[in-house]
């Protein structure tokens, strides 16, 4: 038992040393003393792009929605969108980005503030969609990280049915 504990401590110490040394040598090391945030760990934007993407919370989202200043985009699959979504949101499933976004001549106005969301803070689609939009020239893109989970938990109104990008463009 004593040997086992000693060996274990030795193995952990070696692993820890190798890991920390390796991290130190990485060009893009893990920020070990920071609390994990999905926005940080996402792959860096293209060269020259600024990290425009930031998180907004539900209070901010409600204010912006009331003022009608944003385009709210739901990044989940269409089936989930049809069941329930935040009122006024547009469906743009990430897998169908090309179909619904790239092939259109009229896109979301580039100067308009865009907020993307998906199911909850663990789903990556809203963030990926936001990054794609930034790459296509949108300057003000935000992510409502908590997504549908928080929205429904707070008993805020939801809408059902489909509302696609096509309708937004009309």
């Amino acid at each position: 038992m004593k040997k086992f504990l000693l060996d274990t401590v030795l193995i952990i110490a070696i692993s820890l040393s190798c890991a920390v040394l390796y991290n130190y040598l990485l060009t893009d090391p893990l920020p070990l003393f920071k609390i994990y945030n999905p926005l940080d760990s996402d792959e860096p934007l293209l060269m020259g792009e600024q990290p425009f993407i930031d998180e907004i919370d539900v209070e901010m989202l409600k204010i912006l929605k009331e003022r009608d200043e944003i385009v709210l985009i739901d990044a989940r699959v269409e089936k989930e969108f049809r069941i329930s979504h935040i009122p006024g949101a547009v469906s743009l499933p990430i897998a169908e980005f090309e179909k619904y976004y790239l092939n259109r001549s009229k896109k979301f106005p580039a100067d308009r503030m865009i907020v993307t969301y998906c199911s909850d803070r663990y789903c990556i689609d809203a963030l990926q969609l936001a990054r794609m939009l930034v790459r296509h020239g949108h300057e003000n893109v935000f992510v409502y990280l908590e997504g549908m989970e928080e929205w429904t938990k707070l008993n805020l109104p939801v809408e059902a049915g489909s509302f696609h990008t096509d309708q937004y463009e009309k």
């Binding site: 952990i12 692993s15 820890l16 190798c18 890991a19 893009d28 893990l30 994990y36 760990s41 663990y122």
Partner: protein, 153 residues
Amino acid sequence: MKNRIAAFLGHYSVQFLCRIILGGLFIYASLDKIARPHDFARIIYDYRLVPDFAVYWIALILPWFEMICGLLLVSGFMVRTTTILLGLLLVVFISALSFNALRGLDISCGCFTVSDTGQGSLLWYILRDLLFLIPVLILIFFHQEKKKTAKAA
């Protein structure tokens, strides 16, 4: 009959094979995670089982722990300790996968690769990890420490 099975499983070639399989498995599993720590951190976060402040640390140390244990096992050092540690690690993996399968999470396994293409059913991963426990059990119960064999001789 029992003695025969024990003698067979304790035989050097069977033990050697188990060591190579288990050690090799963990070395192989660690490579992609070591190469892409950021992607692995994302996968750990997706498991929703560890607090946010621990995500980066686990993402960094776990693959190196697998690598070191694998190397020690393959080269025949600290066989019993590394086997027990890897066995415990497998039990942790199986529990984490089962827990997430039970609560209906559809997540990337992050077992051998950190890319999304490595996705499959969680049930299959659990079954596979259970199979990996076989060499662990053989090594724990039938491995003869060098000292003992020297004494016996």
